[in-house]
């Protein structure tokens, strides 16, 4: 009996007489390892490089993506929060200006804070600028109204309204005092290979596997119990009109590839995107963009000198 015990302890390299010491050591090791008390950590804020608009290579500092709680520090906090809410719930709060079942942030992922997800981060400093579609100077309010009339199939919001001022205030806050001749080094949209030709038949198969759960078998979207939009309709009378960027195959594909679906990744604020190949994205976009949708009467003024992109709808 003793022999087998000693064999065992010998095998373990432990002297049987020192068992209590060994046990004590093991317990101590456990207690110590269980007692390294970690400290609370602060927010790990997303940071992007700042660059000069005329020299993208010059390193001039860092942009820190703000959290909404810091809006409270601003003198016009109420206005900024109002702007944020208007962007999130445009249809519910501004029904007379929004024709479609869409909100600004249906396309601007996570309140315009995500690169490749149509962020507003640089918007305040980018406008006014010459828009390729209008071929003339457009200011930020004018650009926002482009969305109201096209993507949201509605009416322009008066530039002097409290609502437009609030939306601009949110975008100004999001710019975080980045100076006018600097910009945050991010892309607003991702890239897809525009030489690919979309196959709408294959696109429809992908649509039913990966999109229809939220956007509906007939593209009708989903509303909540109050009738407010959760997932916007992708075609039909309540969707964006043909003047919207999202109605163009390659613009839609670039959005879909990097941002859709949501709630399918464990990373990213919406857990979104990055499951489709370029071809998948072009196919599914070819399918849904070309479904029936409202016309856009203002289309006659677009690309006045004829420099139309190849996926323009008119």
């Amino acid at each position: 009996m003793n022999k087998s015990l000693l064999n065992l302890t010998d095998a373990l390299g432990i002297n049987a007489r020192r068992l209590p010491v060994a046990v004590l050591a093991a317990v101590c090791a456990f207690v110590i390892s269980g007692c390294d008390s970690p400290k609370p950590i602060e927010r790990n804020a997303t940071e992007f490089d700042l660059v000069k608009t005329d020299d993208a290579n010059e390193d001039i500092g860092t942009y820190i993506l703000p959290q909404d709680t810091s809006i409270l520090l601003e003198p016009n906090a109420d206005q900024i929060f109002y702007g944020k809410r208007l962007l999130n719930e445009t249809k519910r709060l501004l029904p007379e200006y929004v024709g479609a079942q869409m909100n600004c942030n249906s396309c601007h992922i996570s309140q315009g804070k995500i690169p490749l997800g149509d962020p507003y981060i640089n918007s305040f400093n980018t406008y006014p600028r010459v828009m390729p579609r209008a071929e003339k100077m457009v200011d930020l309010a004018g650009r926002i109204n482009g969305c109201f009339q096209r993507s949201m199939n509605g009416k322009p919001l008066p530039k002097e309204s409290d609502e437009m001022k609030a939306i601009l205030a949110y975008m100004e806050w999001l710019a975080q005092k980045t100076s006018k001749n600097n910009m945050v080094d991010i892309s607003n949209a991702g890239k897809v290979d525009e030489s690919l030709v979309g196959d709408p038949v294959r696109g429809e198969v992908i649509y039913h596997v990966q999109c229809a759960t939220c956007h509906g078998n007939n593209g009708e979207g989903i509303k909540d119990s109050r009738g407010d939009i959760v997932f916007p309709p992708l075609w039909g009378d309540e969707s964006f009109n043909i003047g919207a960027g999202m109605a163009r195959t390659y613009k839609a594909a670039a959005f879909v590839k990097y941002n859709m679906p949501m709630g399918i990744q464990t990373k990213g604020l919406w857990g979104h995107g990055n499951v489709l190949s370029d071809q998948d994205a072009v196919d599914v976009s070819e399918f849904f963009t070309h479904q029936p949708r409202p016309d856009f009467p203002g289309k006659v003024n677009d690309w006045p000198t004829g420099k139309k992109p190849k996926d323009a709808r008119y």
Binding site: Q67, D224, T266, G268
Partner: protein, 459 residues
């Protein structure tokens, strides 16, 4: 005086040796031999065994993320170090290929290995021990003939020396897992079947019953005590109470339970964490009859003693405030920024896509571990053939610990929810725990490709 240490030493060594010897004998008292001749090539028996193995969810613990089915290697973190599940494929050298039916039966039901040493109670043999030998025979046929042999050595445990001795486990078994037969609570065949599945192969108590000082489940059946299935914390998840109180299954209907076991979701909630694994690997494959039997049985369990069946009515003022932009706390601002787009102003989410936070018993349940863990690490619903897509919750790992506490407290106490509150230290502890926890299948994003969808629909 000088002789005392020597005497104590001799007595100690002698006592230890006696204990060790008895420890060698104890397993022999547990093992059984069976007269059953198992035809491991009988296709019907193999098929039956596959179903029994599904109900017992063997694959969940005996497979690693990305590893071969049943080849083992999954770490189970204990306070004393990790132990690893073993290779139960029919490989003769590294698996259980050399096991006779009796060896298999004794390991599975009695926790005694082929070499007569005791298994760690991480293996739920105290539950499995009520399974009939006929079912074990079917399972044996499946493991010998229906499972692909994989050559993969078992990993040694990381328990420190002495604490990794196996013979003391024989005493654990003698004290905490004595011989037990299944005793039906009623004559109702459906309820009895449900009770058997819950108590036996389903080993629900492994997670949902509190453990005692010896790491034993404090009740193995409802007859033992009303602590059975009354909720516990395991792997940083609150495995909720399955009894009749408000925090338990009071607000669940039998039909909702069936839907949950089958699809991993209802209109209100979704399985996450360890339960998502259970649905994905086990319950989604069970027959409608068995799912109904389990659900109906669970609904017969009385409330945990001292716990209320209902809570005082509370008026929802949260929804209107969020809709009006009346952010009355830091938690509200955080909710509006990070959570509201999916879980909505009314906290009701979107049925079968985004789970509700309002009126969801997993959210307001007694402690906040599950809410803390899923907020920090995200997760995904189980994949089943019943829904086209399995959705995820993204990790909010970049939030400060203080803000996670704010938003979790907000969620657990908004709308009509009435939960306890957490403090920053709870978040710190959970984040620390998660930094060491291995990833599982439902921690990673689902495969959304068209071929994967086709495969799923054929399951």
């Amino acid at each position: 005086m000088r002789k005392w240490p020597l005497t104590i030493g001799i007595l100690g060594v002698g006592g230890l040796a006696l204990a060790f010897t008895l420890g060698q004998v104890l397993p022999h008292l547990r093992t059984t031999t069976s007269a059953i001749e198992v035809n491991i090539n009988d296709p019907e028996l193999i098929k039956k065994g596959e179903y029994v193995a599904r109900t017992a969810d063997c694959v969940a613990c005996h497979t690693t993320l990305g590893g071969a089915d049943f080849a083992g290697g999954l770490p189970m973190l204990t306070p004393l170090g990790a132990i690893y599940s073993t290779n139960i494929t029919p490989d003769k050298e590294t698996g259980i290929g050399s096991y006779t039916f009796d060896d298999f039966n004794n390991a599975t039901k009695h926790g005694v290995r082929q070499d007569n040493s005791a298994l760690y109670p991480a293996m739920p043999y105290p539950s499995y021990q009520i399974m009939p030998d006929e079912d074990m025979a079917a399972m044996y046929a499946y493991f010998m003939s229906g499972v692909k042999a994989v050559k993969q050595e078992n990993k040694p445990s990381e328990m420190p020396p002495i604490l990794n001795w196996r013979w003391p486990l024989a005493y654990w078994q003698a004290i905490f897992a004595p011989e037990r037969e299944f005793v039906a609570e009623t004559d109702d065949a459906v309820l009895a079947r449900g009770q058997y599945l819950i108590e036996g192969p389903g080993h629900c108590g492994s997670c949902h019953t509190e453990r005692g000082i010896g790491f034993q489940e404090i009740a193995l059946s409802n007859a033992d005590s009303e602590e059975f299935l009354s909720g516990a914390v395991i792997d940083g998840w609150r495995a909720k109470s399955l009894r009749g109180e408000h925090d338990g299954l009071a607000i669940w209907s039998t039909a909702e339970l069936v839907d949950f076991f089958k699809t991993g979701r209802t209109d209100i909630t979704a399985a996450f964490g360890a339960m998502a694994e259970v649905v994905e690997h086990s319950t989604q494959y069970m027959t409608e009859d068995d799912l109904y039997a389990m659900s109906a049985y669970l609904k017969t369990l009385s409330p945990k003693p001292g716990e209320p069946v209902t809570v005082p009515a509370k008026v929802d003022v949260t929804t209107q405030k969020l809709m009006d932009g009346d952010y009355d706390s830091r938690g509200a601002i955080l909710y509006a920024e990070y959570c509201q787009v999916c879980h909505r102003a009314d906290g009701k989410g979107v049925p079968r896509i985004f789970p509700a936070l309002e009126g969801n018993s997993a959210v307001y349940s007694r402690d906040a571990d599950s809410v803390l863990q899923i907020t920090l690490s995200g997760g995904r619903m189980p994949n089943t053939k019943h829904d086209r897509m399995a959705f995820t919750m993204p990790e909010f790992i970049n939030l400060s610990d203080a803000d996670v506490a704010e938003v979790v407290n907000y969620i657990r106490n908004s709308w009509t929810n009435q939960g306890s509150t957490v403090d920053v230290d709870d978040v710190v502890q959970m984040r620390h725990f998660l930094s060491k926890k291995p990833k599982t299948g439902t921690d990673v994003a689902p495969d959304l490709s068209v071929p994967a969808a086709e495969k799923r629909s054929q399951m």
